[in-house]
C-alpha cells in the first residue's frame, strides 16, 4: 500500500502538469454541455411543406390552412406543378409535397371520398416517418370535421369518436434537455475516461520508463491500480462539474437519489477505466492507443441508446448494446435523473457493469506483462 501512495503521488503530479489534459478536462464538459444539448435535439418540427393545389376550392384551402396551422409544419410555398414542387425537394427547401388534384371538392361532395397525393423526402427516414404521421393525423382530423359538419343532427353514429386522454409522465413539458443532457454527460465521461486511461501506460512505453518500473518490485495489480485511481478521481470531478452545469444552466434536478448516481458512477468508472487500460496494454504507440480508443468510444456511443433507441435495434444489436458498459450507465443516469428510479430498479444494470468491470480489469492486469 505504501508503494501505491508513491505511485499515486507521481501520477497526480504528472496529470496536474499536463496542460492539454487539464484543459480538456475542465473545458471539455463546459463546451460539450453548453453546446451539444442545443444541437442534439431530435424533435421533428419545422417540416417544410410545398403545396400544389390544382383545385383551388374552399375545401382544399381549408385543408391547407389546417396543415399550416399545425406547429410541426412550415410552408407558404405554393407551386403550379408537381415538377416545380419536386425541385424544391431537390434543393432541400421542402420536405413534403402535397398535391391536391382537380375536382377534389367535387369528388368529396359527390362520391364521399377524394384522393390527395403526398410525396415525402425520405432520405432522413425518421423525419419522413414522423412527418407523414403528423400529416395523416391532421387529415384524419379534417375528415372528422367534415363528417361532423355534414352529418344530420341525430345521426351521431356516423361521427362516433374515441377520445385519447394523454398523460405524459416524468417530463410533462416535453423538455428535450431533460432527456439529452444526462445522456450527453454519460457520453462525455466515457470519452474522457477511455481516452486518458488508454493513453496512460502506452505513454510510459513510448518514453521508456516502463522498463524501469518493470524491474522494480511493484506488483502488477498495484501498478494498474496506481494508474486507475487518478483518472477515477478526475472523472468524478468532471461528473460533478457536469452536474453543476446541468443544475444551473438547464435547471435539471435529479428526481432520484444523487448518492445512488455517484455510487453507480464510481463502479462504472472502474469498468470503463479498466477497458481503457486494456487498450493501453495492447498498444505500442500513442497513435495506436488513440485509434483503438476512438474505435471503441465511437461504437460504445453509437450503441448506447443515448442517440438512437435501443428498442429499434435487431436482436444482435441489443446484445452488443448489453455488453457495452456505456449503455448501462446511460440508462441508469436517465432513470435516476428523470424517473427517480431506486437501487432495486437499476439492479440489473449494476450487476452487468460489475461483471464487465471484473472482466476488463482482470484482463488488463493479465495482459500487462512485466516479463516477455
Amino acid at each position: 500500500m505504501r508503494t501505491l501512495r508513491f505511485l499515486l503521488q507521481k501520477e497526480f503530479r504528472q496529470i496536474l502538469r499536463s496542460r492539454s489534459l487539464l484543459i480538456s478536462i475542465v473545458l471539455g464538459p463546459i463546451i460539450q454541455l453548453t453546446l451539444l444539448p442545443l444541437a442534439a435535439n431530435f424533435e421533428v418540427k419545422k417540416i417544410a411543406v410545398a403545396v400544389v393545389d390544382h383545385d383551388h376550392s374552399s375545401y382544399s384551402e381549408k385543408l391547407i390552412a389546417k396543415i399550416y396551422a399545425s406547429p410541426y409544419f412550415t410552408g407558404g410555398r405554393y407551386r403550379e406543378s408537381y415538377k416545380d414542387a419536386a425541385k424544391l425537394v431537390e434543393q432541400n427547401k421542402a420536405d413534403i409535397v402535397l398535391e391536391i388534384p382537380q375536382n377534389f371538392e367535387d369528388n368529396l361532395v359527390r362520391d364521399g371520398n377524394a384522393e390527395i397525393f403526398i410525396a415525402v423526402n425520405a432520405i432522413n427516414g425518421t423525419k419522413a416517418g414522423v412527418g407523414s404521421g403528423y400529416l395523416a393525423n391532421i387529415i384524419a382530423d379534417y375528415n372528422q370535421d367534415i363528417r361532423l359538419q355534414w352529418s344530420q343532427p341525430g345521426h351521431f353514429s356516423e361521427a362516433s369518436a374515441i377520445d385519447l386522454v394523454n398523460e405524459n409522465w416524468y417530463n410533462p413539458f416535453m423538455n428535450y434537455f431533460l432527456y439529452m443532457v444526462p445522456g450527453l454527460m454519460v457520453s462525455l465521461l466515457t470519452g474522457i475516461g477511455a481516452f486518458s486511461a488508454s493513453l496512460n501506460i502506452v505513454k510510459e512505453k513510448e518514453i521508456g520508463t516502463i522498463e524501469q518500473i518493470n524491474v522494480t518490485p511493484i506488483k502488477k495489480s498495484t501498478f494498474i491500480l496506481g494508474k486507475l485511481i487518478p483518472y477515477w478521481v478526475l472523472s468524478m470531478f468532471v461528473f460533478t462539474i457536469g452536474m453543476l452545469i446541468s443544475r444551473f444552466a438547464y435547471s435539471i434536478v435529479p428526481v432520484g437519489n444523487i448518492s445512488l448516481l455517484y455510487g453507480f458512477l464510481s463502479v462504472y468508472l472502474l469498468t470503463l477505466l479498466g477497458a481503457g487500460l486494456l487498450i493501453s496494454t495492447y498498444s505500442d504507440t500513442q497513435q495506436q492507443a488513440v485509434s483503438l480508443a476512438f474505435f471503441f468510444v465511437l461504437v460504445f456511443n453509437m450503441i448506447s441508446g443515448v442517440f438512437t433507441p435501443i428498442d429499434s435495434m435487431p436482436g444482435w444489436g441489443k446484445v452488443l448494446s448489453y455488453i457495452s458498459p456505456m449503455s448501462h450507465f446511460a440508462s441508469v443516469m436517465r432513470m435516476v435523473v428523470l424517473k427517480g428510479s431506486t437501487f432495486i430498479d437499476i439492479l440489473p444494470h449494476f450487476i452487468a457493469i460489475v461483471i464487465l468491470g471484473v472482466i476488463f480489469n482482470t484482463w488488463a492486469i493479465l495482459n500487462y506483462r512485466k516479463t516477455t
Binding site: T3, R5, Q9, G208, E211, V215, T216, P217, K370
Partner: protein, 248 residues
C-alpha cells in the same frame, strides 16, 4: 551456494522462434565486482541482461541472481537489484527530487531514509540547487548520473547498467565511471554492458559476446595477453571478425 557469487549463469539460452538471441552462456559474477559485458550491437547483451533482471524468462539453462532463481523468484530478484537502461528512465515532467522520492518510495524506503539519502545523493552529484528543476531541462550528462544514483538509492546488492554512457561526452563518461567505482566500493556488484572498448578496460572482468555466445571471459589484462594485443579494442576486433550477425 557460494556466498561470494552475486550472479551465476549456466548454459542460459533464449530463443525467439528460430533465432537464438542468447546461446548457452555460462559465467559468474563475484560480489562487489565490476563486470563488463561487451559485444557488438545485436550480440545478445541486452537480452541476457533482461533475463537476469527478471524482465524476460529464459528458454533453457539456469541462472541465479543474488541467490534467487530467475524462473521462480523474479519478483525477489527485483527487490535486490537496481537497473538503468539505455533508454532514459527518469520522468522528464517530474523534478529531480520528485523522481528520487518516487523511485525510493516504490522500493519501500521510509520517509526519513528518502529524505536523508535524497539529500546525500544530491550532495554527491553537486546538484543540491537543482532539486526542484524538471529533469527534462537537465543536460544529458546530468540526467545519466542522476539516473544511476536513483537506480542504487535503495542500496541493491547488484546494479545492472545497460549501455549507460551512450551519447555523452568523454568527460561525463569519466565522471560516470567514478560513480560506478564509488558504488562498487560500497559493496554493490556492478553488471555493465557497453560497446565502448575503453570502458571495458575499467572493468574487473569482461565477457565478450559474439553472436549470442560468450567467446572470451577474463580480466582485461589477461585477455590482452592472450590475444597479444595492447588494447581491449583490438581484443574485440579479433573476436568480432568472425561474427555472422550484422550490427544494426
Amino acid at each position: 551456494m557460494d556466498n561470494n557469487i552475486a550472479i551465476k549463469a549456466d548454459k542460459l539460452t533464449k530463443r525467439f522462434g528460430d533465432f537464438v538471441a542468447v546461446d548457452a552462456i555460462t559465467f559468474d559474477v563475484k560480489q562487489g565486482e565490476i563486470f563488463g559485458f561487451v559485444g557488438a550491437n545485436g550480440a545478445g547483451k541486452t537480452t541476457a541482461m533482461r533475463i537476469l533482471c527478471g524482465l524476460s524468462t529464459p528458454t533453457s539453462g539456469t541462472a541465479t541472481v543474488a541467490g534467487f532463481d530467475v524462473y521462480k523468484d523474479a519478483e525477489k530478484i527485483k527487490k535486490n537489484i537496481g537497473y538503468m537502461s539505455q533508454k532514459f528512465s527518469l520522468y522528464e515532467d517530474l523534478t529531480v527530487m520528485e523522481n528520487i522520492t518516487f523511485y525510493a518510495g516504490i522500493y519501500g524506503l521510509s520517509d526519513k531514509d528518502i529524505k536523508d539519502r535524497g539529500a546525500e545523493l544530491l550532495d554527491r552529484l553537486g546538484i543540491a540547487h537543482e532539486a526542484k528543476t524538471f529533469v527534462g531541462s537537465l543536460p544529458l550528462g546530468w540526467k545519466q548520473k542522476l539516473a544511476f544514483s536513483v537506480a542504487v538509492i535503495h542500496r541493491p546488492k547488484i546494479v545492472f547498467l545497460d549501455e549507460p554512457t551512450g551519447g555523452v561526452d568523454p568527460v561525463t563518461r569519466r565522471q560516470f565511471w567514478d560513480l560506478i567505482y564509488e558504488a562498487s566500493d560500497r559493496g554493490i556488484t556492478v553488471f555493465v554492458t557497453t560497446h565502448y572498448m575503453d570502458e571495458a578496460e575499467y572493468c574487473g572482468r569482461v565477457s565478450v559476446m559474439v553472436d549470442g555466445r560468450i567467446d572470451a571471459f577474463d580480466t582485461p589484462a589477461n585477455l590482452k595477453k592472450k590475444f597479444s594485443v595492447d588494447s581491449m579494442n583490438k581484443v574485440f576486433y579479433e573476436l568480432a571478425r568472425g561474427a555472422k550477425r550484422k550490427a544494426d
